[in-house]
């Protein structure tokens, strides 16, 4: 796959950076002229992954969250969100709808389900005490007009 464009931003695991990450993602893909629906889906998936890194990965401590994006083969968007936080012990369990380790904080356990629904694919790479990497891809529709 040919890399058309690439970016990486790193920021502290502060919840106010959730909105920054969405804006950065939206602005990076804007040259591709995504549909409103695609743009919302990508912003939502980024928000979920970045929130998870902040809430669960670093769990109140301060660390670095990395958001990387690539545009591949003209219209495929690849998004990677990485933290060096506490990691996920059971990935299959974490992916189940409604599963959350923070029910007391009103987490709904739907983050991974939203990412999977709004993106074409999602992969989780994680190890306890090492951190977590989420990789998502979405091919944007081609405007035929």
């Amino acid at each position: 796959m040919e890399i058309i464009n690439e970016m990486r931003v790193m920021f502290l695991s502060k919840s106010e950076n959730e909105s920054f990450s969405r804006v950065a993602a939206a602005s990076f893909i804007s040259p591709l002229d995504p549909t409103v629906s695609e743009l919302v889906e990508i912003k939502t998936a980024v928000s979920e992954a970045v929130s998870n890194a902040i809430i669960h990965g670093y769990d109140g401590t301060i660390g670095v969250v990395t958001l990387e994006m690539r545009i591949l083969d003209t219209r495929t968007v690849e998004i990677t969100v990485t933290d060096q936080g506490k990691g996920i012990p059971d990935i299959e369990k974490a992916k189940e709808p409604l599963f959350t380790t923070k029910p007391d904080e009103e987490r709904a356990g739907m983050g991974f389900t939203v990412m999977e629904t709004f993106m074409d694919s999602m992969e989780i790479d994680s190890a306890p005490d090492k951190g977590t990497r989420i990789m998502m891809k979405k091919s944007l529709t081609t405007d035929l007009t």
């Binding site: 009103e106 709904a108 709004f118």
Partner: protein, 116 residues
């Protein structure tokens, strides 16, 4: 994010506007929780048409309100025409906790009948 409350004879409407993510969910949860625990309502309507962004944090916010409202047996409604937001709510079976309203017509119908 902005929150606006409107109440008329035990019906509380909660207007949310702007962006709802985990960050501003924390403050919103407290404000709505406080409002709900100070009153006693028959009906509660979450009016979400003003939300320009929402991720799965929205589910927890609404569910938390429902939990508080269950003390005084209020019926909870949620109005949004945003397809993505509706999808997030239905994916999490929100329709088991609240009545989802997805059009202006439906909203008017429900509200007219409740004003009687």
């Amino acid at each position: 994010m902005d929150i606006l409350f409107e109440e008329t004879n035990q019906i509380l409407t909660i207007f949310l506007s702007g962006e709802l993510d985990h960050h501003n969910c924390i403050a919103a949860k407290d404000r709505i929780g406080l409002k709900l625990s100070m009153g006693s309502y028959h009906k509660i309507l979450y009016h979400l048409e003003g939300l320009t962004f929402m991720d799965s944090s929205g589910i927890g916010l609404i569910a938390n309100g429902c939990k508080i409202a269950s003390v005084f047996d209020a019926k909870v409604y949620l109005y949004t025409e945003n397809e993505k937001h509706l999808k997030i709510f239905t994916m999490s079976n929100m329709q088991e906790l609240v009545t989802l309203i997805s059009s202006r017509k439906e909203l008017d119908a429900v509200w007219k009948s409740s004003m009687k």
